[in-house]
């Protein structure tokens, strides 16, 4: 057996190889279980014992060479082949079936999670409720203007002698006393109540159904400073870390004191100027967020909570409004028409 002949033969075969797959075939024919190297090794038993040692060494050296050369050839060929792979990855795929969540859903999830982090639990209360929970316990007696036909949506359901007429809730605040009652009038209360609200108003900036998120916090020693702290935390989480918040005096029956909350405009960053021109969104650098205040003692009392021991704050903001402020979704009438051209924007 002359290894050098085999070697030459191998080299010429290797030279002829032009593809990675033929290189693999060649590798198999030499290094495989029934390949030449194994055949040579098996043939050693027929050799004279004194020749076996050298022959063994020669075969091993040959094996190492074959292994090395085949690998080099394969690597080179693979590399060459890979260089030839080319696809325009920017071509769009055939089908991206992409559904959408309603912009209200997206905001609800975000808001819920922000308040969860500071220990507020999301609750759900009826959309159809008695006047008792919608007004009476919120310090709005029967003569209050909000209870007029022009402000509240009444239903034809039975009237309860104690709880009054059935209404579609004009705000999420009907959850306030319901939450106090659920907890057996025992604070602490940390609630976020998100729901649909209804008011007889239908124009470019109002829809007869809208969404509110209501915060309610009742505990010992709750102060205006705490309300400011919570609002500051919320607006920085939701609108961005540079957002500032301010309170202005206002009036609501179920809070005392009552405030209107403004935040620095999300478009002009509170400067009232965009490229040297007056900001069209805010005009003054501030945008109105909604109403808030310290829970009126009559409301605590209605919920069985002693206002001389406990105090609290509450707010109710519109989700359509915060979406408008954050994302610029301005025509809220599109929200509830089911128009696929609008829904597909999200």
């Amino acid at each position: 057996m002359d290894i050098s002949v085999e070697k030459k033969k191998f080299e010429s075969l290797l030279d002829a190889v032009t593809t990675a797959s033929t290189a693999e075939e060649l590798e198999l024919s030499y290094l495989g279980r029934n390949g030449l190297i194994n055949t040579l090794l098996k043939g050693m038993k027929d050799l004279a014992p004194e020749k076996r040692k050298n022959a063994g060494q020669d075969i091993n050296i040959f094996k190492q060479e074959v292994t090395k050369l085949v690998k080099e050839k394969k690597d080179a060929l693979h590399q060459k082949e890979e260089q030839n792979i080319s696809i325009d990855v920017t071509l769009p795929p055939k089908d991206i079936s992409h559904g959408t969540l309603h912009p209200i859903t997206l905001a609800v999830e975000e808001i819920t999670s922000i308040f969860n982090k500071i220990g507020f639990i999301r609750m759900s209360y009826p959309e159809v409720d008695w006047e008792h929970y919608a007004f009476e316990v919120l310090n709005m007696p029967v003569t209050h203007a909000a209870r007029d036909d022009f402000e509240t949506t009444f239903l034809n359901g039975d009237t309860d002698t104690k709880l009054g007429k059935m209404v579609l809730t004009p705000h999420t605040s009907n959850g306030q006393v319901r939450e106090m009652e659920r907890l057996g009038s025992k604070p602490p209360i940390r609630m976020i109540n998100i729901g649909k609200c209804y008011r007889p108003n239908w124009d470019a900036t109002h829809t007869p159904m809208f969404h509110q998120f209501e915060g309610l916090c009742v505990d010992t020693d709750i102060t205006i400073a705490n309300l400011k702290g919570t609002l500051d935390y919320f607006v920085k989480s939701y609108f961005g870390p540079n957002t500032e918040v301010r309170l202005r005096p206002h009036h609501f029956q179920f809070t005392e004191p009552s405030f209107e909350v403004d935040i620095t405009c999300t478009m002009c960053k509170g400067t009232a100027l965009i490229d040297g021109h007056k900001c069209k969104i805010c005009k003054s650098g501030w945008l109105e967020l909604g109403g808030t205040g310290m829970v009126h003692p009559n409301v605590l009392t209605a919920g069985g909570i002693d206002p001389s021991i406990y105090s609290g704050w509450a707010f109710g903001f519109g989700i359509e409004r915060v979406n408008m402020m954050k994302y610029g979704i301005d025509d809220i009438r599109n929200y509830y028409t089911g128009d696929i051209r609008f829904l597909n924007l999200f």
Partner: protein, 657 residues
């Protein structure tokens, strides 16, 4: 409501060095919100929002008082210039005038008769100020009433004395259907709850507090006037004014309970102005029917109470000076115990210690209060509520990822839509004062709305996949309706697509459920509908909407929907499937084709009952009335043989014959 006042007018009552821009900024932060400043006819005009509790600020004097309390905290000079008004002395015989309120309807009625030197145009400063504050300038007499209202904050009225037939005014409730013609020549038929003034002959000569009537107002020929102010019941004013849509500035103020003490100030200021613009001479004593004088109010509170509610210590001197500047009287005892007298113009708003907190804190400045999150507290969320929100989002999220779009419809629908679905309206709760017929009947199923959505979008997109999760409202005798969340899915493509997403949903929620053919759902074609059930729970139905309903909406293509009870899904859902270790041993797959003689659910059930070694049954193919089934056999404890499988297949074939 908003009011407009001019800067120059404000300076009649306020001595200040604050500029209009500073005024806007500081007042808005601590008091009434100045929404904008305009320049009108050479006057700087403030447009100010007045909240319903602060009608005392709806005037030049009211804003001056606020400014005098607020501006000093911003280091601005501000002093209220109080005007002393002369009470005219009347001597001699009174002209004939009789004002009565037999039923005691009004809290106060004031009147005085005057002779004037003619109806002409107002002095320039009056007409200019009125125009700048959005009030028409008519003549010297009418202008005084409007001028006094804006300056003092109480509406006033003037009659032509000689047009009041018997020189008597009787305040009474209207008779049902009684007719009036307002000064803008509109005819109204009144209700028994409306308050009117009768001239003693049964004729209505005024809708007091709201608008005058054409038959008694001042004309060009007027020589003698009755200057008249009444303090009426605010609720009655609001209801009458809203009922007929007569929204005047007078009614807007009167419905917010203005101070009846202020009515007297308005009277005196009016007399002063009539003398100035019309050389008025007084012909009668001042008539003042005031059965129950408006009282001040005492509130007991303390510095520590205020500090505790605000969350920061406010110096006692600051507290007392803020309140004093706002016309409160403050008496301090011991360690900050406060006895506070509320002035008459604030008693309808400031009644409890918390109201005092508001007065002090707002002028102190909400911006000066620190920003501190409250101490943490743990409140446990009821498990059902947690599941409700968790799974709502899980379901929405799943459907979105399957290519479905979420819609939100109004909770109420139109009668027309119900009719398209041949539904009786009587069973539905409905809105009694709906502003639109489109949203009147509370939904009991989301299917009609979703079919309507498909119709509305017809033409925009050819293939539609929609869903909605919302409440339905089922009436309950004597109780609130049952509010039940439904999840409803609608497609206009194929039942196959609907089933794919529907069964995928059950898999996503790890609910073992099976579908059965039914014909129970009202909305669906009897032979193309099924229900999805687990052992004990029925989750809802799916199928093809009856084409007759779709045609009713002008929709010709088939619509497939599924409507499920959300709370049932939520209770059955698991975050992990029930765990069963996979078999380490061989799996053998076999197909057979049989004639389909029953629904698939029954086939599947029969297969599992017939063979214990079947772990999976699926449909490989379907052709005409045959169906090719694929079975996977395995045993969790050993390797099974081909012969065993053959025997199992025979068993299966036998039961499926």
């Amino acid at each position: 409501m908003n009011i407009k006042i001019t800067h120059s007018w404000l300076l009649d009552y306020l001595d200040t060095d604050a500029t209009p821009v500073e005024m806007q900024k500081y007042l808005s932060l601590c008091g009434p919100s100045v929404e904008r400043i305009e320049e009108i006819g050479g006057e700087t005009v403030y447009d100010i929002e007045i909240t319903s509790n602060r009608i005392d600020t709806a005037s030049v004097v009211g804003i001056a008082r606020e400014a005098a309390a607020i501006l000093p905290l911003f280091k601005k000079k501000a002093r209220l210039k109080k005007k002393t008004l002369e009470v005219p002395v009347f001597q001699g015989d009174s002209i004939e005038i009789k004002i009565t309120d037999p039923d005691g309807i009004c809290r106060r009625v004031l009147g005085v008769v005057m002779e004037i030197d003619g109806v002409k145009s107002s002095p320039e400063y009056i007409s200019k100020r009125l125009l700048a504050t959005d009030t028409r300038s008519l003549n010297n007499i009418v202008d005084v009433t409007n001028y006094v209202m804006t300056e003092i904050g109480h509406p006033t009225h003037v009659f032509d004395y000689d047009r009041i037939a018997t020189h008597a005014l009787i305040i009474r409730h209207a008779k049902k259907g009684e007719e009036i013609v307002t000064l803008d020549e509109k005819i109204f038929h009144l209700d028994e709850t409306d308050v009117i003034i009768d001239d003693g002959t049964g004729k209505v000569i005024d809708l007091p507090g709201i608008m005058g009537t054409a038959n008694s107002v001042v004309t060009d020929k007027t020589k003698r006037i009755l200057f008249f102010i009444e303090s009426n019941d605010p609720v009655s004013i609001r209801r009458t004014s809203m009922r007929y849509g007569i929204r005047t500035m007078a009614s807007t103020i009167n419905e917010k309970n203005p101070d009846s003490e202020l009515a007297y100030t308005a009277l005196l200021r009016g007399i002063e102005l009539f003398m100035e613009v019309a050389n008025a001479k007084i012909l009668s004593p001042i008539i003042d029917i005031y059965p129950k004088k408006q009282q001040t109010l005492l509130i007991q509170t303390s510095k520590s109470f205020i500090d505790k509610k605000v969350g920061v210590g406010i110096p006692l001197e600051t507290i007392t000076s803020i309140l004093t500047n706002l016309d409160f009287k403050v008496e301090v005892k011991g360690e900050g115990e406060l006895t506070i007298t509320v002035p008459t113009h604030r008693v309808s708003d400031v009644m409890i210690p918390e109201d005092i907190v508001e007065e002090v804190a707002r002028v102190y400045g909400y911006f000066a209060i620190p920003t501190i999150l409250q101490k943490p507290a743990y409140v446990s969320q009821p498990n059902e509520t947690e599941l409700l929100f968790h799974y709502q989002y899980a379901v929405k999220s799943y459907l979105k990822h399957r290519g479905y779009s979420e819609v939100m419809n109004y909770s109420a629908t139109s009668l027309e839509l119900l009719k398209s679905f041949h539904i009786e309206k009587n069973e539905h709760l409905h809105i009694t004062n709906s502003i639109s017929e489109d949203i009147k009947y509370l939904r009991q199923s989301l299917i009609p709305s979703l079919v309507k959505n498909l119709k509305q979008n017809d033409g925009f997109v050819s293939e539609m996949h929609l869903f909605e999760i919302a409440k339905t409202y089922l009436p309950k005798k004597g109780l609130l309706p049952e509010e039940q969340f439904m999840v409803t899915i609608a497609v206009n493509t194929s039942i196959e697509e609907l089933k794919t997403v529907l069964f995928g949903l059950f898999k996503e929620l790890n609910i073992q459920a099976t579908s059965y053919a039914t014909s129970d759902s009202y909305y669906l074609l009897p032979n193309v509908q099924g229900v999805v059930k687990s052992d004990s729970v029925e989750f809802g139905s799916f199928g093809q909407v009856k084409p007759a309903f779709c045609r009713g909406l002008g929709l010709d293509k088939p619509v497939y929907v599924a409507e499920l009870y959300f709370e049932r899904l939520m209770k059955a859902a698991r975050s992990m499937p029930s765990y069963k270790a996979f078999s380490q041993y061989a799996h053998i797959t076999q197909d057979i084709t049989i004639k389909k003689t029953r629904i698939y659910t029954d086939i599947e059930k029969a297969v599992y009952e017939a063979s214990k070694l079947v772990t999976l049954v699926s449909v490989k193919d379907q052709y005409k009335d045959t169906i090719t089934l694929r079975f996977v056999f395995t045993d969790s404890s050993r390797n099974i043989t081909e012969e065993e499988v053959k025997k199992e297949l025979e068993k299966i074939q036998k039961v499926l014959l």
